[in-house]
Amino acid sequence: MVQINEPCTVRVKFKKVGRLKFVSHLDLVRTVMKVIVRAGLPLRFSEGFNPKPKLSFAAPLSTGVESVCEYMDIKLYKRVPEDEVVAMLNKNLTDELCALLAYYPESKFTELGFIDYRIELDLLSATEALCLDIEKALTSPLVIVKKGKGGEREVDISPMIRNVSCKLEGGKILLECCLSSSPAEFLSPELMIKALKDKLGILKEENLTEEGYTVMRTEAYFADMRPFR
């Protein structure tokens, strides 16, 4: 059995882009476990009858969303230099899913506060005027119905939306915004887009192949808007 000589946690910032956005979170976790084994990282396993590698992720990404700012913590039994962690992992990953950075963190995932999103709306009705409507909708009270444990309730999501910018770019609407992502107040971009759909009547189902949208996470922050680390 391996000697636990210096238990530590290494944080890996990684990206998941392109077609790999269709890999679900559960599948990602399974994949990463095998990647760590292949990479030969000194992974720590949980105690008990059915040992599992100790691995955790910050704010799981929805299927279909790309990101260049994902984070996972891997518990190791031995410290490995940061650069080596990245190199070991990337030898076993592809360009669409790979490590960007590794470090020994001082923060916890619960300290995550906000995430920047870059959303491209490909609409038949993409106009400057619609951009203004979207901006206005996101900066004034926007009430959605949230289903929770205590039944349905109405929530105004606008306080969870910051730094909205919406403009026409190459025939598409480029919407950039920063959404609250703390464990207590997590707003998913899908929910926000659904609210926009309902309010502005955009993205109708019958236009499935003509209309669509893509979402990418671009940056993560602490609650005080310092870059997450």
Binding site: S24, I36, V37, T63, T209
Partner: protein, 617 residues
């Protein structure tokens, strides 16, 4: 893949989009402009099933080792995806490049079970490839079939340009090389290529043969259309498995597949000779890999995949002559690395306490054994060579070892079967329950005992001693299923059985000749697809397709085939001789067993194919 119009919005709207994206670690990417031959390997079932198939893993690796050949994969889309692809005009594409399958040079289908035929044809349609070989023009890829089903290629002969009989490692390379060479020297035309491919051992070109029939519907003659075309097609084998290529890395799926594990093929062939078993005959002669080779391959695949399970596969793993050495070698490191070993094909008579303790898959979950028949008489008829004592001994070990669930596989509809044999299945299950209660109470595993009896319907398969037998009628199979249901009275015995209707269709597709092809095509036209999935199988659709194309289904099912008859698959030479199969048939009627190849050679004929590390002389 991003080159496909609308793909993004389509993928957002289907179940498990991970099936259709490719981009896996280990997938081979080459520059399509710099390769001389593009090969698409198509598996006519879902991604989850196809990705687990060992044959696909091996052949993908074999082809991609060649610099100038690029092999890609495609699987059958699930119904939601298929419907969307049709609606938005997305043709079947290969996962590596996203390019339409119709743009490839060679397209190979792996036919693993008869019920996938309609899926294969649906995939051709989705790719925009004409389903009949005769309708394909010069620009269409050469459509190839291989796999265990093609030992009787005739029912699908009209749909394929080229059929690979036997193991594909060498044949597919030779076919690709011939293609590249003829393209280079300008001599390539579809027909010129197929004619020359017919000279490769293990290649069958259906269009080069003509079949004529007698007035009673039996085959009169099977004749080559041209001089020089071989009258018999000899099965191809890989002689030395220690030297044969084996993948060093795998394509790692993101989504869960049926077998997320390292699969290690230990040997090919089988020493047993169960008389109902096609695999036991067509994969002869037995050829083993050495433990050294296997240990090296296991370590290499573990390190390159990160899987936490290694499965040792073969037709009957406990018959491997050096199993002890192999498991010793593997256990040297697997326990430390938290890798478990599994042996999925254990025989009753070889199950021991030691094995149970060594093999972790046996440690978790229940145990499965296959007595196949309910009485010793019938087990002797089918040459299963296990006794009730073997079963009692095995389950006793299992119960003492803490197991409390046992699954037993049987067949009904076997030749010479009577209701006594059916009742024997119930009695055997009861005997297992009794073994549990025979243990002193403190030694019994907690939670009571559960015995599952799973019964499939016998299909007289080509190249078995039972190939001439009539299949039991649908009514008789159902009556027997009902009879067994009533005979099982113990509530600790759970009884499940296969749909007899599926077995009828399977028998027609397994035993048919070229005259049933129009029925398969018609079934596809009427929507048959993914027939291997219960929810899509439609018996009435099949029967009406046969009726509407003038096929008398009884001719292929409940009619016994004459021993003097030319069988649809007689032109295939699997090594094992017809006279051996006939001898075995006689012994079956005499209720005489035949010793395994390990005990003595029965002269089946497969030794003439050669092969290293075999039992036969």
């Amino acid at each position: 893949m991003t080159n496909i119009k609308h793909i993004d919005s389509v993928l957002k709207s289907v179940e498990k989009p991970g099936r259709y994206i490719g981009g896996e670690f280990g997938a081979v990417i080459k520059d399509k402009e710099s390769v001389a031959c593009r090969f698409a390997f198509l598996f006519p079932d879902t991604y989850e099933i196809g990705m687990s198939n060992l044959g696909v893993r091996i052949l993908y690796d074999v082809l991609n080792r060649e610099q100038d050949i690029w092999c890609e994969r495609a699987y059958a889309p699930w119904v939601d995806m298929k419907e969307k692809m049709e609606r938005y005009g997305i043709p079947l594409y290969a996962l590596e490049s996203g390019d339409p399958v119709s743009e490839f040079d060679l397209v190979g289908f792996s036919l693993q079970y008869e019920m996938c035929y309609t899926t294969a044809l649906s995939m051709m349609k989705l790719a925009g490839i004409p389903i009949y070989s005769r309708d394909r023009g010069e620009e269409v890829p050469i459509i190839i079939a291989g796999g265990p089903c093609v030992y009787n290629p005739e029912p699908v002969a009209d749909f394929f340009d080229l059929i690979n009989i036997g193991e594909g490692e060498e044949v597919l390379l030779e076919i690709s090389r011939l293609y590249i060479q003829m393209k280079k020297d300008g001599s390539y035309t579809r027909s010129a290529f197929l004619r020359r491919a017919a000279d490769i051992e293990g290649v069958y070109i259906p269009s080069l043969y003509e079949v004529s029939y007698n007035a009673d519907g039996t085959i009169r003659a099977f004749t080559p259309r041209e001089a020089g075309v071989p009258a018999k097609i000899k099965k191809r084998i890989v002689a030395d498995l220690d030297k044969a290529p084996y993948p060093e890395g795998l394509v790692m799926p993101y989504i869960q597949t049926v077998h997320d594990r390292v699969v290690l093929e230990v040997y090919r062939g089988c020493i047993r000779g169960c008389r109902f078993c096609q695999a036991g005959m067509v994969y002869r002669p037995i050829r083993e890999k050495s433990p050294e080779t296997l240990c090296r391959q296991a370590k290499c695949l573990y390190e390159s995949s990160g899987y936490d399970e290694i499965s040792l596969i073969s037709l009957s793993i406990s018959d491997y002559s050096r199993l002890r050495e192999l498991t010793d070698g593997l256990l040297e490191w697997t326990d430390d690395e938290r890798v478990s070993l599994s042996l999925p094909s254990l025989r009753l008579d070889s199950f021991s306490e030691e094995l149970m303790q060594r093999i972790s898959s046996v440690r978790q979950g229940g145990l499965t054994f296959a007595p196949e028949a309910g009485t010793q008489r019938l087990r002797d008829v089918i040459n299963k060579n296990v006794t009730e004592d073997d079963l009692v001994r095995a389950v006793d070990i299992a119960f003492r070892g803490g197991k409390n669930s046992v699954k037993l596989y049987f067949m009904n509809g076997l030749p010479t079967e009577t209701l006594l044999d059916i009742e024997g299945i119930a009695a055997t299950a009861k005997r297992v329950v009794d073994c549990y209660f025979a243990l002193p109470k403190p030694e019994r595993p907690k939670g009571g005992v559960s015995v599952t009896v799973s019964v499939s319907c016998f299909i007289p398969k080509p190249f078995t001693p039972f190939q001439w037998e009539a299949q039991d009628s649908l009514a008789s199979l159902r009556m027997k299923q009902q009879h067994l249901k009533e005979a099982i009275t113990d509530r600790r015995v759970r009884y499940t059985y296969h749909d007899a209707e599926v077995s009828v269709i399977e028998a027609i597709l397994a035993r048919g000749d070229r005259r049933i092809a129009p029925a398969i095509a018609l079934a596809v036209e009427r929507g048959a697809n993914l027939d291997a999935w219960d929810e899509f199988f439609d018996y009435d659709r099949w029967m009406s397709a046969f009726r509407d194309t003038g096929v008398d289904t009884d001719f292929y099912t409940t009619r016994g085939f004459g021993t003097d008859e030319i069988l649809p698959w007689d032109m295939i030479d699997i090594g094992v001789t017809k006279s051996f199969l006939l001898r075995e048939r006689e012994r079956a009627y005499a209720e005489k067993t035949t010793p395994s190849c390990q005990e003595s050679c029965s002269g089946c004929g497969a030794n003439k194919l050669g092969g290293k590390n075999r039992w036969c002389k």
